[in-house]
Symmetry: C2
Subunit: 477 residues, 2 copies
């Protein structure tokens, strides 16, 4: 993205003013629209705020923008020469749509990560670059057989990938299935989205874990669903809670992440697992099982999915994102034929299916000899990073935090013992050079933190936790 050139003879503020004038004339900021605040633009461009103040003054002087106290800086409605008589009121459109925006904390986190590349990142729920099989994927890309035709894909997803998944899921997850029961999606995210859009209607009641990744997704609210909570304790959710919610609210579906749950890291207890399947079967209640983490089990023995024992009641969702490469955007759903058919049909309308290129790479990776050693290395490295983060927390904050040690997954769910304000803690941490996700994003009370220890490099973890500890102490005062 454009940055002012410090070697240029023109002063920085003038370069910035010229760039803004250009962007305004191109329609990026239409007449009447709000420009970024001086602070924010300075951060984006990596200059002092005073430089931006000078640039804005320059544009004000030639009548292109206007500043009014308390309402920020806007593009002039009347003085700007090339202005059409009336620009659409984009602000009204942006506010008026029915799909809800992301939760503010997540937007703040994204913005902070984009602006400051040096932040130590315990927030992004993905693997560090040294845990992803980038070399292997690059090698497959060079070697892979040529694609003869880059046309639209099969609506259910690339056939060779679905066939590779049949053996992968049989071998690694104990799931017996067929290529015609699989839908390839853009990560788990798209599977969840399709389910909320196509199998549920506004007003339907569904049960989700508490805390849960689902709370971070306004898509559930956008779809008009009524959400009910299944508290997660040290053994996962309680089957009797599912029965109670069904009796009271006629819930139509249960969303679960039974293995190394996001964010708590908890594993559904085997007895509860059987009871839960019993209850679901008795009530004819479908379960959506999100299973992104099982293969990271640090002891090398991945817990079984619900799907393996309840093939007809469970919509099973898996993905490459947490075990290999989120950037391939390859996830999958295993579901009854009628569901796969309905969802792939709807997806055609939304995006016309996925690119064959990453799907082909994913298929080749699954069939290659790389997969097993990659998974073993991944488990070892995650265990190492988990221990680093735990040791650092014990050294820095022994009496201030409590947590359960996870046996798999990418995250540590950590309670801050003294009362603390989520927002203040996050902002202070960002100022200190470290970032995390506040627990309230997942529906928990204030005072919880999700540390994704998989994301920072190993040598950043100790200093990251130090920075976090300093932020916490400063906020506690």
């Amino acid at each position: 993205m454009w940055k002012p050139d410090r070697k240029n003879d023109q002063p920085l503020y003038q370069q910035i003013a010229d760039d803004l004038e250009r962007r305004i004339s191109y329609g990026e900021f239409p007449p009447g629209s709000l420009l970024p605040s001086e602070r924010k633009l300075a951060e984006q461009l990596g200059v002092n705020r005073s430089t931006v103040i000078l640039a804005y003054a320059e544009l004000r002087a030639i009548g292109i923008i206007e500043s009014r106290t308390g309402s920020g800086t806007r593009v002039s409605k009347f003085k700007w020469g090339a202005t059409p008589k009336h620009t659409p009121n984009w602000h009204r459109y942006v506010e008026g749509g029915s799909f809800l925006p992301n939760v503010p904390f997540l937007r703040r986190i994204r913005e902070a990560l984009q602006q400051d590349k040096t932040l130590i990142d315990f927030a992004s729920g993905e693997l560090a670059s040294d845990l992803a099989p980038a070399q292997e994927i690059n090698r497959l890309m060079e070697e892979s057989s040529r694609t003869e035709y880059f046309g639209y894909d099969n609506p259910q997803g690339f056939v060779p990938l679905r066939e590779a998944l049949v053996s992968f899921l049989g071998k690694y997850r104990g799931i017996q299935t067929s290529a015609s029961s699989i839908l390839i999606t853009s990560g788990s995210q798209q599977s969840l989205y399709l389910i909320t859009q196509c199998l549920l209607a506004p007003g339907d009641a569904v049960a989700i874990e508490d805390p849960s990744y689902c709370y971070s997704l306004p898509m559930f609210q956008s779809a008009g669903l009524r959400l009910f909570r299944l508290p997660v304790d040290h053994k996962g959710v309680r089957p009797e809670d599912v029965r109670a919610l069904y009796k009271k609210h006629r819930i139509k579906m249960v969303f679960l992440n039974p293995n190394f749950q996001n964010p708590t890291g908890r594993l559904l207890d085997p007895n509860r697992r059987s009871e839960l399947l019993e209850v679901a079967s008795e009530l004819g209640l479908p379960i959506v099982e999100d299973d992104p983490f099982s293969l990271t089990a640090y002891d090398g023995v991945p817990p079984l999915p619900l799907k393996s024992d309840a093939p007809t009641s469970v919509l099973y969702i898996g993905s490459f994102s947490k075990i290999a490469a989120s950037g391939l955007r390859v996830g999958w759903m295993v579901a009854p034929h009628s569901v796969v058919d309905r969802l792939s049909d709807a997806r055609q309308q939304m995006d016309f299916g996925l690119s064959v290129v990453p799907q082909n790479l994913a298929a080749q990776f699954l069939m290659s000899p790389y997969i097993q050693p990659h998974l073993e290395r991944l488990r070892m490295n995650l265990l190492y990073k988990r221990d680093l983060v735990i040791e650092a927390l014990r050294n820095e904050l022994r009496d201030l935090v409590s947590f359960t040690v996870p046996q798999g997954g990418l995250h540590l769910w950590c309670k801050i013992i003294p009362e603390v304000n989520d927002n203040k803690l996050l902002e202070e941490a960002i100022r200190n050079g470290v970032i995390f996700v506040p627990g309230s994003v997942y529906g928990s009370d204030s005072g919880f933190v999700r540390f994704t220890f998989a994301r920072p490099k190993a040598d950043e973890i100790v200093s990251g936790i130090s920075k976090f500890a300093a932020a916490l102490r400063s906020v506690l005062g």
Copy 2:
């Protein structure tokens, strides 16, 4: 996908019965669910219907399935051993979601194309394999610099691709823009979807062309929009119609495909173009401009987009799908900052963004020396195919069809002069080995046909039109 093995000692019907039993036990067809009809399964597996009848009889004999006259063949609810007490009523879920399924004609076409690979395909709106730059893309894949990290992408899309598009759009489309005004999407389709979901609310009125690609997308109805028609004549839409719809229905947005419109192939007349921009500006009315075909202009002089003269009123949508490779799933929107921001935020919830791999290939293709010669070759070949289809139609059906000769694009919009039933014509054509899209899919009356001459190979066009002509004559009786 699985097919019975004719070299196997086991009879075909027994192989099919075993495969179905397996798929039923895996949950693909839960208890109570409908199995494919005998005819359909026979088509899918490439066997005689009598073989499927034997396979079903075998499964009936062991109690796994049940057939009742008039209601098809279903998986037994009670006799099937591994059945949970109650399977979710998947049928109710599939019917109950709020997102509408694709139009029946399009589902029929997809199904027919999947079942019979020998059909001559005038239906799929994409380039034939020999028109796509497959060699060039394969070469870029081999040569391309290694990707160091396959993590989640920037929510607005891959930065180098957006930067490459800034020069591409400036050079080829006369659009001055900046990387921060561009959102990369999964083809044009996802741009349209995001606009209907995020900028409009149920009950909003919008104007679309008549006929229009938009009618093929139940997404507009799923979003609860009220659709009003702008008839397309030989000069495109009439600006006064836009004004009238605004007065009468307070339309909030206009969806247009001004250049080589899909399906009519019409070009918006330059005078109407200026008037239209005048009206939109006067009313403060946003225009969504879908511009997939301009670069195919056979004379090599692509018509200007509306966007180039109305940067702040137009949401501009473009894509690789119709000019290079639909299978990359790379499209783009150029829009004011606030719109790009809102849409990319929402898209994060739907699919967590696109894969970096095809985006990187697209960026490299745009910056490579391949692009200009590719576009020239594409134009020449499309012109050649257009002439082939026109000559064939004139030879075969001179007095039965009428059409305007398009000057760009992938389609010929053809009126069948005698009265004809769309459905009968399509089914007869499929039986004859050729397929097309009936015009009613685009909201027109019965008796129009869209021939995508870009899709079949050149040597299939003449025989394809012959088969179509035979089907038409047979239906006309």
